[in-house]
Symmetry: C2
Subunit: 730 residues, 2 copies
């Protein structure tokens, strides 16, 4: 279709590039940009910054004070590391602490007393080795353990300073920057560092009079990224939500003072698992996150105030150094940010940006970035690339979220000069920007139709990590795949935690609860299911009419004879081999038609699935199975209903299955067709006040579809590949 | 080949049948039988018992005293059952104890004080409900629980008498025996029952003057078999090695007196998992087994003495009521049995019979049984059946064991009349019997060649359950598949337990240790791996040159950051999803030739496999993988070696892989070819004193193969389908 809109400009951030002033200003006009930004690696020339556009300038405070950082090693950021396990062969064992780690990233912290902060473990027994039984040799960077038991395995938890900031390190190494300076990140937990940072910021603001928006490259702490020296094990540990890289003796002392108890190195190291967002967090670690969040908000507020006092706006980038920022955290609003910018690959990232409270402007950074190659090294803006097709494919993934939830701005990043030889890309971005402005206009003073009930996703993180598993979309992780499916559906989705359930029960407007993930994951909940009250609340809620959807290992926590705490609700449970002697109920063969499977076209593909599922009795109806293990089953429990899926993979068919399952579980099958599109490769959104029906084609082929209105009236259409249709109804 | 043997008769037990006297005596001659037996459902006529053959007569003591059993309900055998879980909806909950159970098998034991023996559990909290909070209503067979928490799940552990003995029940129902009496099994734990049984035995012996061998249908207690009333859940629980069906208040009181502590109902019920042989046993349960073994030996000895005092022999059947008999138990020899009879489907069952110590005669009951249909309802001796082919296929499976280990006798069971219309079956059994006698003769005064070191299989059961997983060969269970592979290899295999390791370390002559199974299983070891001493002993043993082979989840017990306790030995570990944030070492792509994979012909098929395996570093060499998860990998650790397999399935290729892996792990690759057959569908055994080389074809097709002698000389031959070749070397 041809986009007709009165708004042909605005809401678009363009990456300018010094040396390409004409291209910058031409494309700013063509794409309807109102803002020009610099990027990592590009500069804006006076010609650009004086051109009358708003100017975004990026700044990363913690790596901006370089000469000082190098001269104040003990003010660098640090973290606990676990030395690689070593087996003792005799009565003493010497461990080279950094062996296996990238020595350009880490140096051992020899300035804070090791005996006070470090721990040595006998991992064979699980016991800590008494402090008097080991010595640290600072010069050699080794720990010598005495009275070791031959055959036992030992590790040392030690503090290491990071002498090379990870994003700088990644870009440097990936792009062969050779001699260019290794930037180090300072730790603002120290009052001295805060002074240096604030002085830098003041100077920087003085030097950027034309900047209208200061875009913080997040705040102070990066997600965790520990590198190895072996090219075959370069990324020893990386987690986009872990607070490992915020630790210091000062932080630990302040924590103890505030919370009244001490954290140990093992609270961070956790046998080498650290505190991955993917795994259910401990209470102690949750306290620590809160402590860091408070600090980041407090000191961040000071920085933001300085920006705003100059009449500039402060935006924050929701990637990289976002640890402690927590846009869904209770105090995020206290930063006083004007805008939040999220780089997005897909729909759930759009939702993650859109719903963040406490900030006025929600902006997306779209893919592809204007780089010669993509993230996996594939060609983009160079021979062999097809950046227009890339842009279309990224757009249809992100658009599923944009039609559901309001976004204020979009933009690009990278080297603008690269798009010069790609006129079709230039044209497509102009069209995409128009499409975005139109969709944005529909959300203004209106809200896309959603089913008349809420759907809650129950995880250990709850709303704190709304629309986020850890970082970007990891394919193959059932919970990631699930939230991607949900991100484009006409549903009000809320995220609740076990603590929320304990404190408030199930919210009244929630009709369906989803729990998805493997046992022990933060998504399934792990040990949180040991709290009987959780089981009790949910059991009674379903008994009284609630709908529960379990995926993979819902409510899983191992106890003799039972894995799923809510097995009675689901009518099934999982056997991991321990029930070889227990008989399994012979359920009726699948095949009967069911509301949930009405649109299934071919074979089911749930991705990585859970096996060994067994039905508890006659109540449960199995809709699909494999090797006598149910893959999709429904059950009634009291007045409520439950649905079980053995896995989830984001595909049109599975998105439809989960959508139908939600309506079935809610006992609201009748509402399902309303404003819904028959063709599973298309989706529709209806804006009731504006009477606009938006239908999107999520595929690269032509699609025909029919949408049902509220009164049963239907609307049929054919959609171009990656296309969109907008009907005005009356 | 044609079997040439001087021994054309003997060592064969034929099932006679009254009314078919001529057939009985003709076949006894044709098959070279020296013994005629009765079977369940057949009688021997005077013409047969007076014919001069040895006569086996079967007797099952515990179900032989029927009028008395019915009149003494409280002397019947009993067991704990767990009622099916029920969720409370209000403050009281009534549980119908036997709901879901087969009421023709069980009645609630209302005569022993429920408050003393039973337990009620809140399975939501895992806590026992105080005894004052529940009441038993004997007439209704219900328990009413007070002050229940709505939403919580409750179960009752209660005692139930069994009013129908399980083998009788199974045969009765399977064969539609209609009005025929339901036999009940009495519990010899009561002195009154012992008196009745001994009186019966005395009378029975008086009435069987021609019987030369009394074949006890095992002793007193059956393997566990709980039936349900729903045809879709007929077998609620069945385990061939579980002691559940030996329990009684008297047994529990005597146990407490002897062991100084009390067992509870939950020690038996275990959340509904009971004490399946497949799962790692608790210490308490092991004590209880020992207690029952002692009782069965003591009272069994009295019965056997009575038999032997009449000049008759006493044999025992190693199936059905074998609980407490434990042929590999420390006191089995004290029974004083003359013979042990094992019904066999396959090679490990042959080994299980062959190596049982403390008994002179080891006899096999071969398949097919002379029944119209097989165990899965397939036709045998009726239209559509091919009993000769069945016999050949069973024989080649069993023969793998018979060429390795001595067996004294073979025989058949069932209705002899059924073989009348199958002359080719009659001929084949005559040939098979000759083949057996020849193989038996080779073992006399000689021992088939085995590699010059021992292989130990490490399990929680150790030697107590040598060559037995639980019952017969369950396909798909890795440990079962493994011991079937081992049962036909030229290796000295011993079974050792964790207790053995703790008490004595690794035996000196053992060069390879195998640990195979899923986490928590009795085969892998489950919680036994929590004992650091085990880890220590094995680590040091490998360090000094031992060979360790892990299959599936060896040494598995979950701890943060580690699943396999011996991960350092294996050079790998398993990630079940918790290491999503941890990097995985990029091992070199498989493909390099290796001693272990030298005979691999096509795709690997390990059956049900373990995934998520990751290499710890550069040391480990991956020989095969799938989806970046190693399936077969080798490692060196100190002076020792390790091999990991992600699963095992009994196939010629996998049997060869494990055989080669054992020699590689033992650092004895040079010995591998000695007396080994090149064709993996054939196997060879060399009897050095008799200078006989036996080569067997384990397939139904013609096979060519070459065997290497000790000096490098080779012997090539072609083998008929199911065939055997015997060369006399000099």
């Amino acid at each position: 279709m041809k986009i007709e809109s009165s708004q042909t400009t605005g809401s678009f951030t363009l990456p300018g590039e010094a040396g390409y002033e004409k291209l910058t200003l031409d494309l700013a006009k063509k794409w309807g940009a109102d803002t020009i930004r610099d990027s990592d690696g590009t500069q804006l020339s006076p010609e650009i910054v004086k051109s009358g556009y708003d100017i975004y300038s990026t700044v990363c405070l913690v790596r901006s004070v370089q000469p000082w950082a190098r001269e104040n090693l003990e003010k660098l950021q640090q973290n606990f590391l676990m030395s690689f396990p070593l087996v003792a062969e005799s009565k003493t064992l010497v461990i080279d602490l950094l062996k296996g780690y990238f020595r350009e990233q880490f140096v051992v912290n020899a300035s804070d007393d090791p005996k006070k902060w470090w721990q040595v473990f006998d991992r064979t027994t699980g016991q800590e080795v008494p402090k008097k039984k080991w010595d640290f040799h600072a010069k050699r960077g080794t720990v010598k353990i005495h009275d070791t038991v031959p055959g036992h395995k030992y590790t040392v938890n030690f503090l290491a300073f990071r002498i090379w900031e990870e994003i700088s390190m990644y870009n440097h190494i990936t792009n062969n920057w050779g001699d260019r300076e290794h930037l180090a990140a300072v730790d603002p937990m120290h009052p001295e560092t805060q002074k240096v940072i604030l002085a830098f910021l003041k100077k920087w603001l003085d030097e950027h009079p034309d900047t209208t928006v200061v875009r913080f490259t997040s705040m102070f702490y990066n997600f965790t990224w520990f590198w190895g020296d072996d090219p075959n094990l370069r990324y020893i540990y990386s987690d986009w939500g872990d607070y490992e890289m915020t630790v210091s003796p000062r932080a630990l002392r302040l924590f103890e003072k505030k919370y009244g108890y001490k954290l140990t190195s093992e609270d961070f190291v956790n046998g080498g698992l650290y505190n991955s967002t993917q795994n259910a967090p401990s209470r102690r670690y949750r306290d620590y996150m809160e402590f860091i969040h408070d600090f980041v908000v407090d000191f961040g507020r000071t920085c933001i105030k300085m920006v705003q006092e100059r009449g500039k706006k402060a935006f924050v980038f929701y990637d990289d150094h976002w640890i402690g920022v927590e846009p869904y955290g209770p105090r995020f609003k206290d930063f006083g940010f004007d805008g939040l910018i999220k780089c997005v690959f897909n729909a759930f990232e759009v939702r993650k940006c859109s719903h963040a409270p406490g900030v006025k402007t929600h902006e997306l950074r779209l893919h592809p970035y204007l780089f010669p190659t993509g993230l996996k090294g594939e060609p983009t803006f160079k021979t062999g690339g097809n950046p227009t097709l890339d842009a279309k494919n990224f757009w249809i993934d992100a658009r599923r979220g944009i039609v559901r939830a309001p976004i204020d701005r979009i933009g690009l990043g990278g080297y603008l000069s690269l798009v010069e030889p790609w006129p079709d890309f230039q044209d497509y971005i102009a069209q995409l920007a128009q499409e975005f402005r139109l969709l944005k206009s529909f959300h203004q003073g209106d809200k896309a139709y959603t089913a008349p009930f809420k759907v809650a996703v129950l995880t250990a993180w709850g709303s704190l990590r709304s629309w986020i598993a850890s970082g970007h979309f990891v394919r193959g992780l059932d919970y990631n795949e699930l939230i991607e499916s949900l991100a484009g559906l006409p549903l009000d989705v809320v995220f609740i935690s076990f603590d929320d359930l304990l404190a408030h029960g199930v919210p009244k407007d929630v009709k369906v609860m989803i729990n998805c993930g493997r046992e022990g994951s933060a998504w399934s909940g792990g040990p949180y299911w040991n709290e009987p009250k959780i089981d009790e609340i949910l059991t009674q809620w379903v008994q009284r009419g609630g709908g529960f959807i379990g995926i993979a290992e819902p409510s899983a926590v191992s106890s003799p004879g039972q894995l799923f705490k809510l097995s009675h609700v689901l009518g099934l449970d999982r056997d991991r081999g321990e029930r070889l002697a227990n008989g399994k109920y012979k359920y009726a063969a699948p095949g009967a038609p069911h509301f949930i499977t009405a649109d299934v076209e071919g074979e089911l593909d749930f991705g990585k699935e859970v096996d060994g599922i067994y039905a508890l009795g006659a109540g449960v109806q199995v809709l699909a199975d494999k090797d006598n293990s149910p893959r999709l089953a429904v059950n009634t429990f009291g007045k409520g209903r439950s649905v079980y899926f053995s896995g989830h993979k984001f595909t049109p068919q599975n998105t439809r299955l989960i959508h139908r399952a939600i309506h079935w579980a809610a006992n609201r099958e009748d509402d399902f067709q309303k404003w819904n599109s028959t063709n599973i490769r298309t989706e529709s959104a209806y804006f009731p006040k504006k009477k606009k029906l938006v239908v999107i084609n999520n595929s690269g082929e032509i699609q025909k579809t029919t949408v049902s209105g509220a009164t049963g009236k239907t609307y049929s259409m054919a959609l171009e590949p990656h296309g969109i249709e907008i009907l005005t109804l009356d």
